[in-house]
Symmetry: C2
Subunit: 682 residues, 2 copies
């Protein structure tokens, strides 16, 4: 059995590359003293938040682990009790760890990227991408190591293990939920609070050092986009691996252990492809006018190398060309999804231009037009997902293998997630250059440096939007896999084959209705969390402006107090939506039983993914409408159209950075909770 | 067989009462010459729109009827071909007729209500309610007559008839879709256009006679709220009757023809209850400070009388007390739904107050807070629907009748729809008093008259919001019935029992995904229709202000041109969403077949109803936030909070009066299309 050692070695090597990047960053030029001061303030704030956030989460996680242990012991499965609880803790721990490592790297990289902006902007780009790669590589490597460890420890009988390690996925998604919610509320409350009082009431520019909430805003980019998204994609990849492994169990007679471990192998090969992709992006590429040129080059190289590896892996381990085609469908879907997101959020295309035009009619027209674009984004995305599912299923059927259709969709998901580490690197690139921009601005660097980072920042906005689209697409593809895993789990528990979710039964229909409802209610709570927390920030900034002579440049603002208030607000307001997401499905499952729970899961997933698209892309479009107008369209800054666009951007903030990404985590949390707790729903 | 004649007699009597009300209104005092001029302009505009709208719709309807005929002939069912096509035409015709009668009455009643406002405001209320009752009684009576006619003509074998008359339901929902879309786009485009240029750019008050779009705005209330909602509820009650009758067929061995005709009997008894309820509202009741007092009295009397009739009908025809209890569940759900809607849209409760408070932070905070309230509204509503479905199902099971559970949910739906004619009267009351307000304002009547109608107008806003909630609730309850009707239809066609919709199959899951997606895309198109049409209105009003001396009071505005432009815009922009709603499901059904179509229908219905709640209640809350602030909260008119509230109100307009109600029609159109065209999906 050489597969597990192989995965281990690759994962450790990937961690080595990440460590190499960290050393590179640590030894690089750190710019002026002023820059270092700003970076230190951001770093301090981020550390403070993460420390308190993870303390809170750890307490909740330990309670949940205890509950899992008790439940399984009560239903008479002491072995599974401690295995599941231990896996839960390990998943939670590794998820938290990968988020934290990514964040700590990015609060160091931002300074290095800012320092290079003046003389060598190409270096700014490359270092930011490598800083992002630390996140990407660490997250995927830790996920692979975690699953391999459990497989090795508990895997006396490989066929049973996948069911045990669902606890790992549950732990990962549990952390992801709170990390994304807490981070998402933090980042947008600080952003909205800083903007509303700073820009509108006091009339000072964005990132102005006189704004007491400016550091909190920059901290927010790290805790929301880095730590939050990191935990999110950690559990995405873990959940997908687990779903595919459970399916591999069904195919054990055909493929043996290779079928079960196949997703881990693809993950490991994806790591190698990502390392190649990252190293392929040189400072020479980064000298191109458009920063996306260099980033895209790396992405396409990663994708092509992944495809080649995929071919060999399929032929060597599964020996069936049809599954390779299914993998290509997944890779193609990821490219299609990136382009759909680009179409709806880039100012070169109709949607953003249409909203910008509507903005000349005032804020209401901006919002109306934005909402209709947001709703529209679901169309192409759903049709692509539908096609990818059906095609990969049919390809799988053509393999001639029993249950091959389902395995085809599993392979497609692996194809989509193969270049995941690179996508994550691009994603983390976003907050790093955003922060670099803030540091350059606050340290009063040259106009040239400001212009250079502004260009990177704009590319970062695009990559952040793309990743969110990618995350939704991969969740949709893997959702179907997780349903079948749940049904297999229930079949094992009841001893009867559970293969039918009949929506024509009243309880099942009600289950579906409530699943869809949870999505709306959860989004409502998440958005409200931002409103409430922003309210505290607004009051604090107003108070500081009133009591001190900050605007006149005499007194210094108290950044730390704003950071502290935002931290406390975000942590307080993440609890309610978090508990709703965990407890409500459990209640419904216990009351309406497993078939209704399946409908809850399925309809909840469909609605959740569509709403995530609406919120992410709507928010992304509003953001770029503002930037488009600021670049001179419809009269540029200061016009009525610009004011309207600012309203849209502010509305879009909690949509795209809090509710949307959290919904996406919710969907996977639903799947992992039902897998772990299926025993309660019988 | 005395049931059909009984239903006929009651329906004709109800039409007689409606005619009596019309005479009363015609012979009443019509106020000053100036009032009559304004009313004439509104009436003219409404006639012009309706004439052109129904000409367009008629053409599309004839094409669809021809397609139905051809399809059924091709699949070798010539009998069913002409029966279905003829039913379709009859349903479409009666739906259009009831919408038109209601609208013509309301454009006469508005004047009478306005004329009484000065001296006898209680009379204003009573006459407006009776004007509304003309709509309510006509709609329900025509629906009963139509279904009875088909049953008599084609019903050689009563067991087969319900399947034939699904064409009637399809015709009704087809008209409802276009009536609601066209009317909804018209009313909100005129409203938004009039407000944006009039209030903001020119700074003149609402309903100011100098605004060229003011007549178009008042026309809009009639064509959207009266004709649109009328057609909508015509098809609601028709579709529900058909669903219940199809189910009655399954129970034929138990109840005989009584089981099939039971829904029609309940409809007829509901008409009697409504007449009693309407007559119970006297001018004395209407003298109460709060106009809702009198309206609610009538409602509760109607509900109680309905319940008593229900008891006798159940005991006499079905002879099983459990079904009476199921009917009470439906009645209770209607009361619960009214109160949920009230909670979310009335300024006395938390949601509106919360949004109002957030408005002090500017338009963005108003929108964010409004969206989170809108999302939240789905929670209580879904839980109530879920409970009502499960409880009525269990009650039906206790009856001991085979398939009794499903029949229990059918009876609950009947219970909910029994007082439907009264609810419709309250609904149409809304646009009548809204128009009366406009007439009073434009004819420069006394302050006293203005104050009196303003109070009625505010009550009318509440009743309109309540009806929308009621419509969604009844659609949700009847949806489940229509699913089972669809499955019965497919079973008949294939000759195999089709009782399982398995979401764990890939095609079926994709069907569900695309069903949910259709909801978002359709909402997007409907909202965009409003944006585009409003754009024409805005340009026209700006042009008139620029070219003529209207604001100085020298030139008169050209109302007719605005009416004409809005008409053309609305008709043009209703085509795309209308065709999407009809054609997309058919394509999916043909491609993915009947089981996937069932999932499409089910998930589409769930998502559609939740989105309708979000859009209706969000819009209603924003509307009342504005009114709340205008009444003096947070500084009242002219403050920043007020400006923010106006933005929210404008955003809410197309949500609550175009997209929300149209979605609700879409959901039922999906059900009737799939019933009629099931043969294509085999």
């Amino acid at each position: 059995m050489l597969i597990i050692p192989f995965i281990f070695v690759i994962a450790v090597l990937a961690l080595g590359v990440a460590a190499f990047f960290v050393r590179q960053i640590k030894s690089a030029d750190k710019g002026s003293v002023k820059m270092q001061e700003v970076a230190a303030a951001i770093s301090e704030g981020a550390h403070a938040f993460v420390k308190r956030q993870y303390t809170t989460i750890a307490i909740i996680a330990i309670i949940v682990a205890a509950i899992i242990f008790v439940v399984f012991t009560l239903v008479g499965k002491p072995d599974q009790a401690w295995h599941t609880a231990a896996s839960f803790i390990l998943g939670a721990f590794l998820s938290a760890l990968s988020g934290i490592i990514g964040m700590f790297t990015s609060v160091r990289t931002n300074l290095v990227s800012a320092a290079a902006a003046e003389k060598n902007p190409a270096r700014s780009l490359v270092v930011a991408l490598r800083g992002g790669a630390v996140s990407g590589l660490t997250i995927i490597a830790l996920s692979l190591i975690g699953i391999s460890v459990i497989f090795t420890l508990f895997g006396a009988n490989p066929e049973e293990t996948p069911f045990l390690i669902v606890g790992f996925g549950f732990g990962a998604s549990f952390i992801a939920l709170f990390a994304q919610l807490g981070g998402g509320i933090y980042t947008k409350a600080a952003d909205v609070g800083a903007d509303l009082v700073g820009k509108f009431e006091a009339g000072i520019p964005e990132d102005d050092p006189r704004n007491p909430a400016v550091i909190a805003d920059l901290v927010g980019d790290n805790v929301g986009d880095c730590a939050g998204r990191g935990a999110d994609l950690f559990e995405s990849t873990s959940a997908e691996n687990i779903g595919a492994m459970i399916l591999g169990v069904a195919l054990f007679p055909v493929f043996g252990v290779s079928g079960i471990l196949f997703p881990l192998i693809i993950g490991a090969l994806g790591l190698i492809a990502t390392v190649i992709g990252i190293f392929s992006v040189t400072e020479k590429d980064a000298q191109h006018e458009d920063p996306m040129h260099a980033l895209n080059k790396g992405y396409y190289i990663t994708a092509i190398v992944s495809a080649i590896f995929f071919y060999f892996a399929v032929m060597y381990l599964l020996n069936n060309i049809w599954f390779f085609y299914a993998g290509l469908v997944g890779l193609a879907l990821s490219i299609v999804f990136l382009n759909i997101t680009l179409y709806y959020t880039d100012h070169r295309f109709r949607p953003v231009q249409e909203i910008a035009k509507a903005s000349t009619g005032g804020p209401a027209m901006n919002i109306i037009s934005g909402m209709n674009v947001a709703f529209e984004t679901t169309a192409l995305a759903s049709i692509s997902i539908g096609l990818a599912l059906i095609i990969s299923y049919r390809l799988g059927e053509m393999s001639g293998v029993q249950s091959g259709g389902l395995y085809g969709t599993a392979i497609a998901t692996m194809g989509m997630l193969a270049p995941c580490a690179y996508i994550l690197a691009m994603d983390t690139f976003g907050p790093i250059v955003d922060n670099a921009g803030g540091i350059v601005e606050m340290s009063e660097s040259s106009e040239n440096a400001q212009r250079n980072v502004a260009k990177l920042d704009s590319a970062g906005n695009t990559t952040k939007a793309l990743t969110k689209g990618y995350a939704v697409g991969s969740a949709a593809l893997s959702a179907f896999l997780l349903f079948s895993a749940y049904m297999t789990e229930v079949s094992t528990l009841t001893g009867h084959v559970f293969s039918v979710v009949n929506m024509a039964k009243v309880d099942v229909f009600v289950g579906g209705l409530l699943g869809a409802m949870l999505v709306f209610l959860f989004a409502s709570f998440a958005i409200r969390g931002v409103s409430l927390t922003a309210q505290y920030v607004i009051e604090e900034v107003r108070r500081q402006f009133k009591e001190k002579k900050i605007l006149e440049g005499i007194d210094k603002p108290d950044y730390a107090r704003c950071v502290d208030i935002t931290t406390r607000g975000a942590l307080k307001n993440m609890i309610l939506p978090g508990l709703l997401a965990v407890l409500f499905p459990i209640c419904i499952g216990i009351l309406l039983k497993y078939e209704a729970m399946a409908a809850f899961l399925m309809v909840g997933t469909i609605t959740g993914l569509l709403m995530a698209l609406v919120l992410n892309n709507g928010g992304g479009a509003w953001d770029n409408v503002k930037k488009f107008i600021e670049s001179g369209a419809y009269g540029g800054k200061g016009t009525e159209a610009h004011k309207a666009a600012i309203v849209g951007d502010t509305v879009g903030d909690p949509f795209k950075d809090t509710a949307g990404p959290s919904l996406h985590v919710l969907v996977k949390l639903l799947a992992t909770t039902s897998l772990v707790l299926a025993a309660l729903y019988i």
